[in-house]
Symmetry: C2
Subunit: 706 residues, 2 copies
Amino acid sequence: MRNLLFLLSFLPLGLLAQEVTSPNGQVKVTFELDGTRPAYHMTYKGQEVTRRSHLGLELKKDKHASKGMEETDLMDGFRVTSTERASFDETWQPVWGEWKNIRNHYNELLVNLRQDAQNRNIAIRFRVYDDGMGLRYEFPQQADLNYFLISEEKTEFAMTADHTAYWIPGDYDTQEYEHVISRMSQIREKFDAAWTENSSQTQFSKTGVQTALQLKTDGGLYINIHEAACVDYPTMHLDLNDQTWVFTSHLTPDASGVKGYIQTPFSTPWRTIIVSDDARDILASSLTLNLNEPCVLDDTSWIHPTKYCGVWWEMIAGGKPWAYTDELPSVDIEKTDYTKVKPNGTHPANTANVKRYIDFAAKNGLQEVLVEGWNIGWEDWFGHYKDNVFDFVTPYPDFDVDELNRYAHEKGVKLMMHHETSGAIPNYDRRMDEAYAFMNRYGYDAVKSGYVGDVLPRGEYHYSQTSNQHYLRAIKKAADHHIMVNAHEASRPTGLCRTYPNWVGNESARGTEYEAFGGSAPYHTVILPFTRLIGGPMDYTPGILETQLSTWCDNDSWVHTTLVGQLALYVTMYSPLQMAADLPEHYERYNDAFQFIRDVAADWDDSRYLEAEPAQYVTVARKAKTTDNWFVGGKCDQQGHTTKLTLDFLDQGRKYECTLYQDAKDAHYEHNPKAYVISKKVVKQGDKFTIKQAPGGGFALSLIAK
Amino acid sequence: MRNLLFLLSFLPLGLLAQEVTSPNGQVKVTFELDGTRPAYHMTYKGQEVTRRSHLGLELKKDKHASKGMEETDLMDGFRVTSTERASFDETWQPVWGEWKNIRNHYNELLVNLRQDAQNRNIAIRFRVYDDGMGLRYEFPQQADLNYFLISEEKTEFAMTADHTAYWIPGDYDTQEYEHVISRMSQIREKFDAAWTENSSQTQFSKTGVQTALQLKTDGGLYINIHEAACVDYPTMHLDLNDQTWVFTSHLTPDASGVKGYIQTPFSTPWRTIIVSDDARDILASSLTLNLNEPCVLDDTSWIHPTKYCGVWWEMIAGGKPWAYTDELPSVDIEKTDYTKVKPNGTHPANTANVKRYIDFAAKNGLQEVLVEGWNIGWEDWFGHYKDNVFDFVTPYPDFDVDELNRYAHEKGVKLMMHHETSGAIPNYDRRMDEAYAFMNRYGYDAVKSGYVGDVLPRGEYHYSQTSNQHYLRAIKKAADHHIMVNAHEASRPTGLCRTYPNWVGNESARGTEYEAFGGSAPYHTVILPFTRLIGGPMDYTPGILETQLSTWCDNDSWVHTTLVGQLALYVTMYSPLQMAADLPEHYERYNDAFQFIRDVAADWDDSRYLEAEPAQYVTVARKAKTTDNWFVGGKCDQQGHTTKLTLDFLDQGRKYECTLYQDAKDAHYEHNPKAYVISKKVVKQGDKFTIKQAPGGGFALSLIAK
């Protein structure tokens, strides 16, 4: 279905407020000039979502801007020269995703603005959907608006009251924080406690928070603020004025404090608000994807959702080393001769161990095997602003790259590449071509990249404009090489996987690794779908069935879910990349539960959010791609939750072989995490279940069409 | 000849001063501890060159340094643990140069120092030559000295009095200044006037000056301070304490103010002092080259000294555009479609015009033709911190890269590539491989690179550690592709062309282009050999025979030498790259004078500095490589100069066809610059000439063995 209808209306000068409503009329956005300053406000079913919120940008006074840009801002002095309206309704098919078809249906208002004194024209474009809106700034190319530098974007989101916020601290470098649930007014007092240590972090305000920010009003309205299509621009944070309840955009600067270097024509990312009185709508929204450009890749046949395992958890949780030797205080990858050093003997990325994982993957239908620590440089990789830290092409002596790829391919499995950059972005930029060519040569088609530690160039941040340009450059280059990318420690996603579907994953939040670093709160995975996942899929690496790490290693951390809770994540945390992150021997130990991971799909034709409340529970049913099979996952917080499930999404008259994985009656994420019950029966449309999820637990259900 | 003699002497604790003298005994350097602080002083023939001068480094207190580095400096708290002495005498052959053989003859003192409190060992190495000395810091790899950050190097050069200095202002970004000749005490008062505008410049101190710094004592001692082998380190400036006459090293910082990120083992560049009571010895010194590592390239057969012409002066002086069109306010090289724009019609890098230059080069024995403005992006290349500014591989529609290379090669000529980066170092780093491969494909073997404007990454400087790493990376990559590099606007050289002889040139000073921007002082080219050229050759681009630009274009600048003065520069300003920079039609107009440029060599078996005084005159005789022909050049300042020349360097009993190009009697760089006399005769060893050089003039003499 494709239906484009443009209603253009060029209006005369001296405009009053301009209103634009969503296709069904329930969302309304109004643009107006406050004096000479642009502003908007927004309602949902007649309720105020934002009060009058100003729009504008402060410019840096700098010689690198074009003449005329040096002394003035893009904040006020505007008049409306014209407005244009349009409607759009199109259904498109993602290369991978939660739905086979996604409808992009909005009404649009474009407001053309002019600063007469500076002879400059800009525009603000609003797209209003039934579940929210996006707005962005547009800067046409013109003689007096050619190059400019942004010192700050001042986009306001003026809240109506002291809502409940599900927030993490604003940071230029990491999102790996535990969420805090508090009133907006409590952000300041809770900020320092929320600021837990990370390998790279930069604070900018005690009322600074990250997006996607989930809010809930006392009246039961769910408001979600984020951005879409962040291209050639720094990542946006929000800074709260806790006297007025106004969040204002706060961009990530570069080394010299500048936030953006703009060459016109240019459009900023979309600033988005998703809104509903039903929390399920927030999760089911495609607004972020819809505000991104369509896929630009001609051929996407090489992109495939993937289940994988990896040589990883035994290092993260088990303390085994990425490094090959313990002998070297520091290395120079150009000079260090690894054939002359003593191996530590415990380095897991060795040929024999990797073959064990390949065998495991082949036996269990996992398509790929990630291997970390395969390449030289790990003795000395972190924390020193080391530029020439990895070359991405030289294996350790104990990793036979040729033989392992041959062995894997023979078994129908691929190795997944690992490119840790240690934040040395320039080094990766220089070596990317060669690194991807190396992957092509050996038959790798996916890479997990990493940006641990402070980024280079020195003074830049993970979320600076320059860094964001790099992440996308890597995606584009990888696409040229038919390589899928899963970027860890990069900026949180903003839906760019629609445009570049080889961008199959990001980390950009506190992942499963934190279960080995003291644990994450049980509610963590039932907030993430409302926050981190709004921008795109997360490589959360679930599936830790041996939740008590001390049973097999010296780590006294334990996973803050039940075993069944881990299974549920394969459905509740949507991602086209799903890792079976635990050790092969643990999956053998819990082989009956592991069956769900074997069975579950990683790509979907349909998704139905059955129940949801931020930080409490999420239950979703998904129909596996090109099949009639459904998988249902439910995950809850530390309180436990009872799900009343009706199988109304099944085909009428059809029978399904149902396997239910549920927490045992006395299961508890802390005291009794591995108590589970698996039951099978044949079901049909309309059948009902009442499923009790243990504290920190969940459930998983597979429905195989007969 | 190779003669290595190591005299090792491990001395006990509690040392007194350690002295090391040059092979002939005339230079003496003494190391001592001033309390617990390292220091040295130096004499020449018993005269003090430097008073007690302290050595040390201040460290940045930063989490990126190794543990233990955070709170302490490498300034004091030292004791001497041992010293080692050695002598070295070797004669080596440069791939190209002023001499066929260069003798590297020194005595060495290595002082091993220990900070007991910090459990750290460093060393200071002195190499003492008959014409000066070098010292450097060495940091062995060790548990407690692994990574550290330098906040400042504090190497002192304590002068004995208020010497005359030939200086340019200290700047992190450019050396394109006119020299000032003043007492050291006058630097502060003359600084602001010396600080002329440049496209990128950063001041750090009103008593800051650049190296090589030439000094002259009232007693007639010439002292030259510079550095050798600047690798993985920022460029050094000098900051004068004008109360004490102490110059202290001042390194170029990065965006965050850090000056160097060091991983041990590491050695700093050499800090050098060349000294003599005869100014000719400063010019004849090979100390800078000798302190660099030997050539690391296995095959150097593809490296060749080159005379070239180029599509350049008609833009620089004549105002013709690098850009293809005047239509675009800004361009995006990925998107702009140049086939759809209107050409400006005056763009000189077009196929027909370049063929004219190729014909000219072929006819006159010039090996290469530089073409600037051949590639897309010039409409919009400068001043906006634009990263993606050039791609280095896409010609403008009017430049037929295939046909032009074919045409050139057919005539025995090569095109010389031009890579202007606009300071966007990361962009060049990313594209270098492809750019050099493009050159290989079409048969280019040399590139002029440029770094005009503020460098990226933002906040870095042209002379930062990161930038210096880039310049050398480019050289190494180019060597892999058998490409010679001539880097403009890069850091001033420090003799690295010995190690990487494909580094055939640098600009790094005020070149001939300034003759089109208002002119340079007549004494400029008789100071440069004492300053800029100490580190390596400069692509000065001489040969502007039509010194009065207004005769052919709208530029009212004029060259501040006589016509003959321009000829002299091919001999006095040593470089393996020599441009005939003027327009072909001007060389036709002065075809008899142009004969010298046709004849003169660009590579030498021998060089004899016959007379020299900084800022007054330089006369040198050179024997052309693998021939018995000699060329003599004399250049003087605005006062004029009379040279009494004895041809005692010629072979005994042999006759030479001599052509003398001299200023006419009434010649004057301002009033009558193009008045010259050419005379021929046959000469032999011992013949004498008295040659009057006009104000701003010079002479040139070719001696072709019969």
